[in-house]
Symmetry: C2
Subunit: 401 residues, 2 copies
């Protein structure tokens, strides 16, 4: 059986790259940038005052000048003025304004006193050229890449795009994702429920986690364990969606029809079964339009873990997101796990004795329901081949979305 | 001057609690739950098979029985059958199905062989009562609170709500937030830009960060440094929005009109100035409808840091989110900061020598632009009163939204 890392590698290799599209800046938060952002001019575009005060020549200060004549005001949003040639000339200047020609520093209000049109600096004040000035081009030169492709856009990168004059950015298209819950025992939350039935919750959980992870185009479906209805529904979602997630129906019971029906409909199996608990029956294949199909176990916790361990990284790879290193968190206490399988262990993060974060195992029932995951922050992966993991062991950590 | 902690305390004390409203489950991800979710029946609602296999009596196995007659099939979604009274009776059972009356365990397929209607268990197999069964009520009893109020809803809690039969949940109303960028030097990204002008980016950054943090109702405005226009715009946003964020115009330059105009319009000042760099001129007040008004510095990095340090925690408190402990991350290298102010230091997280995360300072230009924040993950707060912070010092960490 494949290890989780091997399964992940096969899945990532099979993921088709998402198409790119233009997106208006005001809708771009959370989208993955596909084309790096270049500065269209120097950043900052001019020598800019970073404090309110007076623009002057530091040479005049160095020569012992203490009193300066205030010649003018330099507000933000107006072209740079020019400082008079007299050594004691200064111009009052506002934060964000361009430095007047001839001046080389700004002395902030706090270091000055003013009487009428004469400003006096504090006794003993020395000022280096460039004081309280954000120099033209000191962040970036025109033409340089300021934001590389392959990142998820947040406030700061969107602000850079705005500063660089990009009203739209090139991002990965959002996949349309179908989530199909299967099982005769499932009823919708609004319907009456009999003693032997349970309400649909997997599809709600997967959809919400996908939306929170930045994939809002998710539709939920339900299939009964009836071959013709299942075949129809699979045909429809394979035709209409970019990614298909199924839950339930992938283990070996008599009513588990999904893998066979998928292969009948031209979905090529890439893997079935991973040496992990929970989530062993995981199935993954690729449809005839290269659309990825994940058949997750029906067990709620398994499906949710597999979504975070495999589906979200696969979607990120498809979007062109540059993967970062997986964070590691020390276990807060010893954990023993004997089966020859990797263990996905839900954890709660807390401040450890040294103050850094540590992971408290919340093993619950591996076949349990979502109630057991409330209050957890994610899960760690404990590899097969070791029975006992001591407190302090650094475990790779997957946060919940 | 106030410390950051004192400023935060005053802000939190002044925040009005958000109203509560019903929200359909399919739109509830990211919303803050205001009323705890109760189990409407036991969870799980019946003794449920967690594997495919055969339901039987463990007493029969303990007495040496190895072969069992398969009486029937118990699929998921059908009422529980009853096991015949013969010791060698068993019922084939599917994952998710209710345990037949009389049976007390499930033996998985893997441990059995089958010939016709006779199943034989593996030699030496011992089985405890409850094997491969998720017991009725073992997660929660009917009537118990399963998800407490005060948390942000993600996939797992929404799934619990679905399982408990809640098609809607009670959540905090999302505030309508106005973001007003002020300054004559600012032009919109789509407009031509002169050498001495800069493009609006603060309002894009703040809006995107707010949306990503779960507050999608954000509108951007621009005000020139002109008293009548500013007064009109402030009147409008104070009337129409629940929260007002302003950037620029709060330091002491001649054109910094905002604090005076806010007070003229009945916004009561709670604080002006915090002993921090950057962000010292921060202003906060409360309007006559209790609406919070944050006047952030115009400097992009300052505004963005103050959003994360004060505004997002204040919105979370208003929504009723139970605050967790602030994570702490060790500094990857020594950092020296002499002024008697708290320092907000942007950092990049990376795996440290022990494998846990550490924070690499990215000091940049404290008056810098957003370009300097690209590639950072958040910021740490270094308190005033210490000049030198050694490598390994555990710093409170605020992630970017």
């Amino acid at each position: 059986m494949l290890t989780p890392a091997e399964a992940e590698e096969r899945i990532l290799a099979a993921m088709p790259p998402a198409a790119a599209e233009d997106c208006p800046l005001a809708e771009a938060q959370g989208r993955v940038l596909r084309s790096g952002l270049r500065a269209d001019r120097d950043l900052p575009p001019f020598d800019r005052a970073t404090m309110d005060g007076y623009a002057l020549r530091t040479s005049a200060l160095a020569a012992g000048g203490r009193s300066f004549r205030i010649e003018a005001v330099q507000p933000a949003g107006q072209p740079a003025r020019a400082l008079g040639s007299a050594a004691d000339a200064c111009i009052e200047i506002m934060t964000g304004a361009p430095l007047p020609a001839g001046a080389d520093a700004v002395v902030p209000y706090e270091e000055t006193e003013r009487e009428g049109e004469v400003m006096t600096v504090a006794p003993g004040l020395a000022l280096a050229p460039g004081n309280a000035i954000h120099r033209r081009g000191s962040d970036h030169r025109a033409g340089e890449i300021v934001v590389p492709a392959g990142i998820r856009l947040s406030g700061r990168e969107i602000a850079v795009a705005a500063a660089c004059g990009c009203p739209t950015v090139v991002v990965s298209r959002l996949p349309a994702i179908a989530v199909v819950a299967s099982g005769d025992e499932l009823v919708e939350v609004t319907a009456p429920v009999a003693d032997h039935q349970i309400r649909r919750s997997n599809d709600y959980a997967l959809r919400a986690a996908l939306v929170l992870a930045g994939y809002p185009r998710v539709e939920r479906f339900h299939s009964r364990d009836e071959p013709a209805a299942l075949a129809d529904l699979l045909r429809r979602v394979l035709a209409e969606f970019d990614v298909v997630l199924l839950t339930g129906g992938v283990s070996r019971g008599r009513f588990d029809l999904i893998p066979a029906e998928l292969e009948r409909q031209g979905v090529r199996k890439i893997l079935h079964g991973v040496a992990q608990r929970p989530g062993k029956p995981l199935w993954f294949g690729v449809g005839d339009r290269r659309q990825p199909v994940f058949a997750l176990p029906g067990n709620p916790v398994s499906a949710y873990l597999c979504l975070h361990r495999y589906v979200l990284p696969a979607l990120a790879a498809s979007a062109g997101l540059t993967p970062g290193p997986r964070p590691r968190v020390p276990l807060a206490e010893r954990f023993v796990f004997r089966p020859k399988l990797a263990r996905f262990l839900p954890v709660r993060l807390r401040a450890g004795p040294g103050g850094g974060q540590e992971a408290v195992p919340v093993p619950g029932n591996t076949s349990g329901d979502f109630a057991g995951l409330v209050g957890t922050d994610g899960f760690v992966e404990l590899p097969a081949g070791t029975d006992e993991f001591p407190a302090g062991w650094l475990a790779p950590f997957w946060p919940w979305s």
